[in-house]
């Protein structure tokens, strides 16, 4: 029983993390049809912004040494700026091209960012000790102890989700964004400024990436220039499984992928456990074939995917 509770909490925390990431991708896909492969690298940039550029293995912190509130604000601001720059310099000029071309573009952007990090910081992994007080265990009841960070991830996710929902439902720009996600051309004809809406999507997506970079570094304690790639792949499949272009779908997809992978590694026999990722990826192809619109259906889904 204790083991089951621990597994559930760990599944929820992994799922929350994937849901946040999938949301970052889903936001951009809904208004721009862009599958942003550079999203993982935005997270990497946020993580590397914590430290001073050097090739040393034990990193010297700069922003990472600030007061927590200031630290979070700085990192989020840096990643949001990066996201906006990449919109104005790169993606804005390619708005009319096909989703697959945009996918290559974001691939190129991510690859460039990764290697720019190597140019500046060197290619060796670096150890960073961020928020060490969060990595301790907490005792929930007799025999059930979980990492505090897991609970923090779940809490942060739900705070951000609620904030995002309120923003999208209650503010004028939020409503405009939902309208643009539903039907971009129609929304523009009705007076929504398309450029602003897309820029806003980049800001939100970048902000999520900034916060995720902090959560991720706290959890792993290591910085590598490719740290964003493997998690990005899971965000991506979460978006596909949940339904591209639907924000609810992104959250549902994130939780599904997180829960499925934690449960698979808990129940698969030892010799098959290594094939967990392969199983999750096959799931993508199955979903694309059986239900191409994803778990959650959007009105415009048919032409989207």
């Amino acid at each position: 029983m204790d083991y089951i509770i621990q597994t559930i909490i760990s599944a929820l925390s992994v799922g929350s993390f994937y849901a946040l990431g999938a949301l970052g991708i889903g936001l951009l896909f809904s208004v721009l049809r862009l599958i942003n492969f550079a999203h993982g690298d935005f997270i990497t940039v946020g993580a590397f912004a914590l430290i001073v550029p050097s090739a040393a293995v034990s990193a010297t912190v700069a922003i990472g040494g600030l007061h927590p509130v200031l630290l979070i604000v700085c990192i989020v601001a840096i990643v949001v700026t990066l996201a906006l720059i990449s919109y104005f310099i790169v993606f804005q000029r390619l708005q009319t091209s096909s989703p697959a071309t945009m996918m290559i573009v974001s691939f190129a952007l991510g690859y460039t960012l990764q290697n720019a990090i190597v140019m500046i910081y060197g290619g060796r992994p670096k150890a960073v000790n961020l928020f060490p007080e969060l990595t301790g265990q907490v005792q929930l009841s007799d025999g059930v102890s979980v990492q505090l960070l897991q609970l923090v991830i779940i809490a942060v996710t739900w705070i951000l989700l609620i904030a995002l929902v309120l923003f999208l439902k209650r503010t004028k720009v939020g409503v405009q964004m939902r309208a643009a996600a539903e039907d971009f051309r129609m929304a523009r004809m009705l007076g929504v400024n398309g450029k602003n809406v897309i820029a806003l999507a980049f800001i939100l997506s970048g902000g999520l990436a900034g916060i995720m970079s902090l959560l991720f570094v706290t959890q792993t304690g290591v910085l590598t220039f490719r740290m964003g790639v493997p998690i990005m792949l899971f965000f991506f499949i979460a978006t596909v499984i949940g339904g591209m272009g639907s924000l609810v779908g992104a959250v549902v997809g994130g939780y599904s992928v997180g829960i499925v992978s934690v449960v698979l590694s808990a129940i698969l026999p030892e010799e098959l456990r290594g094939f967990r990722d392969a199983c999750v990826f096959i799931l993508v192809i199955v979903v694309l074939l059986a239900r191409p619109q994803g778990i959650v259906l959007t009105k415009a889904a048919k032409e989207r995917v």
Partner: protein, 351 residues
């Protein structure tokens, strides 16, 4: 002025892009071979193997219009299938203890092994294609990408056959520049003949207008599947060549990095032309080589590590932003001599 009146000249004109590309590569290979520069020869072989991959990518992407992110998975399959047959006869059991008895105790000739490697990749593509080629547009792209991730993570864990995360060492290094050249020309010929065949024409019609192609009786699924399988075959052979060039294999080298480089080469050259594939590989290979040399420091100039990768990324971004049809503008190299206007227009239409 040469007018293409005799049958031989007509033949040459028909195959003109192929002739130019093959002769161009021949000259490059001959010069490098004569110079005796070993490092240059390494770059050349790598470039030739990439031409095989990128030409195979052109065969599928250029004709079908579906951008595949998954072909490196077939390179992976071909590479390991070849290694099962040729690698390290004395230590094969140590690296890959799970191989069946026949493979553990028999080695095939390099040419046969590469052919069988390509064949296995084609079979895998046939099975995967039955599912993936039913999709269109971005869904198909995502499907190929997911399939590559499946292959990668399966090979990474399938350690009794692939040595898993560690490398397989001791493949005979039989891929010389001339071997690479022959395979490159074979692949270019295959891709050229395919795109001039009725199958290529049917597939391109579906690329330009899927609904109209279907209405005209093209079985889009079957045409896509055919191109997918043929291009996977060439990719599989490229994998075998790659293994026999490096003398070792790791699963990691057949993943996002290689996908990105080969796809960049195709896009930079021009996605819808065979000449574009070759031009893209040549240009980016030269850029990478020059920047790599600068990274190690030549003539007192030294630039930071990874400049080559950043350079490739930036070139690709610039091409995508400012010239989406690539360096060749999606055109083939056409007959430069006096030719009747109709033929020139026909050539243009065909590319």
């Amino acid at each position: 002025m040469i007018e293409a009146n005799t049958p031989l000249l007509r033949l040459i004109r028909y195959f003109w892009p192929l002739v130019v590309l093959s002769v161009g590569l021949l000259i490059i290979v001959a010069i490098v071979d004569a110079s005796g520069d070993i490092i240059l020869a390494q770059t050349l072989i790598e470039g030739l193997v990439r031409i095989v991959i990128v030409a195979a990518l052109y065969l599928f992407i250029g004709n079908s219009g579906i951008i595949s992110f998954g072909h490196i998975g077939f390179v992976l399959v071909g590479a390991y299938a070849t290694a099962w047959q040729t690698c390290c006869p004395y230590t094969r059991e140590m690296f890959m203890p799970g191989l069946p008895f026949y493979l553990l105790n028999n080695s095939h000739h390099f040419i046969i092994a590469i052919f069988l490697g390509g064949l296995l990749a084609a079979v895998v593509a046939l099975i995967a294609g039955f599912a993936i080629m039913r999709m269109s547009g971005i869904a198909a792209s995502i499907g190929t990408f997911a399939f590559m991730m499946v292959l990668y993570s399966a090979y990474l864990r399938w350690s009794t056959w692939t040595s898993g995360a560690s490398s397989v060492i001791g493949l005979p290094t039989t891929t010389t520049p001339w071997v690479g050249y022959i395979y490159a020309v074979v692949t270019l010929t295959g891709a050229f003949l395919y795109s001039r065949s009725k199958f290529g024409l049917a597939l391109r019609s579906s690329r330009d207008d899927e609904v109209a192609a279907k209405a005209a009786g093209v079985n889009v699924f079957r045409q896509r599947l055919l191109a997918f399988v043929v291009s996977a075959f060439f990719c599989g052979m490229a994998g075998g060549l790659f293994g026999h060039f490096l003398g070792m294999l790791t699963v990691d080298s057949f993943y996002l990095g290689m996908t990105f480089i080969t796809l960049s080469m195709l896009v930079v050259g021009g996605m819808q032309s065979l000449s574009g594939a070759v031009v893209g590989v040549t240009v980016l290979s030269v850029v990478i080589d020059v920047l790599r040399r600068l990274e190690t420091g030549i003539a007192g100039v030294s630039i930071p590590t990874s400049s080559a990768e950043v350079g490739v990324g930036l070139i690709l971004l610039l091409i995508l932003i400012f010239r989406r049809t690539g360096i060749t503008g999606n055109q083939e190299i056409y007959w430069p001599f006096k030719a009747d206007v109709n033929a020139a227009a026909a050539m243009k239409r065909q590319s």
